[in-house]
Symmetry: C2
Subunit: 326 residues, 2 copies
Amino acid sequence: MTELIAVIPGDGIGQEVVPAAVEVLEALDVEFEFVEGDAGDAVLEARGEALPEETYELAANADATLFGAAGETAADVILPLREAVDSFANVRPARAYPGVDSLRPETDLVFIRENTEGVYSGIESEIAEGVTTLTRVITDDASRKIARYGFEYADSNGFDDVTVAHKANVMRMTDGQFLESAVAVAEEEGYEYDDALMDALAMHLLLRPEEYGVVICPNLAGDVLSDLAAGLVGGLGLLPSANVGEENALFEPVHGSAPDIAGQGIANPAATVLSAAMLLDHLGYGEDADRVTAAVEGVLSDGPRTPDLGGDASTTDVTAAIVDQL
Amino acid sequence: MTELIAVIPGDGIGQEVVPAAVEVLEALDVEFEFVEGDAGDAVLEARGEALPEETYELAANADATLFGAAGETAADVILPLREAVDSFANVRPARAYPGVDSLRPETDLVFIRENTEGVYSGIESEIAEGVTTLTRVITDDASRKIARYGFEYADSNGFDDVTVAHKANVMRMTDGQFLESAVAVAEEEGYEYDDALMDALAMHLLLRPEEYGVVICPNLAGDVLSDLAAGLVGGLGLLPSANVGEENALFEPVHGSAPDIAGQGIANPAATVLSAAMLLDHLGYGEDADRVTAAVEGVLSDGPRTPDLGGDASTTDVTAAIVDQL
Ligand SMILES: CC(C)[C@H](C(=O)O)[C@@H](O)C(=O)O
Ligand SMILES: CC(C)[C@H](C(=O)O)[C@@H](O)C(=O)O
C-alpha cells in the first residue's frame, strides 16, 4: 500500500529539516507518495494567505502530514492544520538524549495535551472599550477523550506514572470538569493516576522530573509545561511531536522556523526526523519507527553534530549519518 | 506612629513561621501592634467558614497583613484576602541564595503578577451538561496599572531587563489587550522592555535565567512562571511575596501549609521573615527591611539550617540566629 504523505516545510529551517526527514523516510522499505504543500510567511506575502485552502485540503486528505515550521504566521498555520487533521491530542515527548547537554538528564516525559478547546477555543470579544473577554470552553467529551488517550498511551508505552494537570482550585467548573472527566475514565478503566495543580507541577518537574511520566493536560497547560520540559532536556531542538486525530495525524518538530540560522544549511534535523519516526509508528510501521529513532540516537551520541550541539556538521552531514545508521 | 499589623498564621506550618517572623519584627525599633486573625482549614472545621468576616475586615483595615498559609482551603482564603487589601499586584522575587543548593544559581528574577483578573475573574458556568465555560477578562485599566507598577519597580530596584509575558498569538484580543496596554505605558513613560510568549519564556527562563529581570505577567501566567522560577532556585521554601494595593498590602511566603512537617517545630521561617522584610519596605522602613534581609542571608549562608536545607536546627534556632544577626 502506498502511503500519501502531505509535506509542508513552511518557513525558515522548515525548508531544510523537512527535506532531511523525507530523505530518511525514502531510505526505508515503505512505499510513500510525498505531496508538497505551501504555508507560512512567504506564502502570505506571495499569495495573501498563510494557509491556502489546497494545503488545508492536502493535510485533511493525506494518510499523514509532516510539517516543518512557520514564522510570524505560526498560529495562522498550525492551528487550522491541527483542525484539518481533526487532531484531539498533541503528543509531546521530552526526553534527554545521552551525549546531549541537559539540565536534568533523568527527564523522560510525555505530555498529552488536549488539542481542541480550553483558551484555544478563541471566542473573544471587546465588550466595552478596553474591556476584553475570552471564553474558555472545557467539555466532558473532549476531556474524557484526551484522558483515555493519555492513559492508553502510558499503558502501551510502559509508563507507570500518569499525572493529570489542572488548576481546579481556581477554575473550579472548567478545570473541575477536566479533572472529573479524567478521574471518571481512570475509575471506569482501572487506571492509576495522580493529579497536580499546574503551578506546583511546573516547580516539581524542575526539582524531580524522574517522578513523572505521562502528563495529561488542558490545552494551554500542555503548551507551557511541554516547553518547560524542553528547557529541562536542553531546548526545543530535539523534540518531536504528533497531532493525533481519529483517522488522520500531523507531525512536527516542536521548534520554530529559526530565522537566525535559516538558509545556512546548519539546522539540526533531529527533531523532524524523530517526528517522522512518530509518523511511521502512527501508520503502523513500528519497526521502521524504532530503526529511525535508534539511528537518530546513535548519531546524537557519537555522530556528526550541528552547531546547536557544539559541532560544525551540516544538516546534510547529519542526515547522511542517520541514513547510514539505519 | 504605631503600625497595625494583621497577623493571620492559618494552617500547618503557618502557625510556626508567622510567629517567627513576628519575633523578628518585634526585635526592631519600630512600633507595631499585632492583631491576630483566624483563617484556613481548622477554622472551616470549627466555624463553618474558612475566612470569617472579621478576619477579612481585619486585613482590610490594617496597615499591612502578614499571612502564613492555608491547607485545602487555600483558594478560599487567599483570593478573598487579596481582595480585602485591594491588591492589584502580586510581587514575587525568585533569587538564588549563596550557600543554598539551586539548579540555576544565577537566577535573580521578580515576577510582577496581575492580581485581579484573567482567569481569576472566576466567571464560570455549565452551559449544558458536560459543557463548561470560564470567562477570562482582561482590561486596559488593570493591564496599564500592573505594567506601570512593573516598570517602576524595575526602575527603582535596579533591574535593566523587563519582559512582558503573554500568549497574544492565541489569545489575540485579551492578551493582545494586555500587551498593547503594557506597550502604551512603556512608550508614554519611555521604558525599555521585551515581550515574550509565555510558553517560550518558560523554556528560556530555564536555559538562560540571567538574561531576565522583572517579568510582568497576566494572573495565571504569573502564578505558573513564578513557581517555575522557585524550581530554579531550589523550591518554594525561601520565596517571599507581596500582594500590593493602593493603600494596603498583604505579605505571605510562597510556600503552603506543609502538613507533612507541621507541628514538629522544624519549618524554615526564611520565606516568611523575608515577606516581613517586604512588609517593612512597603511601610517605609527601608533600612529595617535591608537589615532583616541581610540577617536572613547571613543565616542562610553560614547559620543554623532547618532540615529542608540539610541541617537539623529548629524553627526557633533559626529565628534566634536571625534576630542575633540584626
Ligand atoms: C504557534 C502556537 C499557536 C502554538 C501553540 O500555542 O499551540 C505553539 O506554541 C505550539 O506549541 O505548537
Ligand atoms: C492557592 C491559589 C489560589 C494561589 C493562586 O493561584 O494564586 C496560589 O497558587 C498562589 O500562587 O498564591
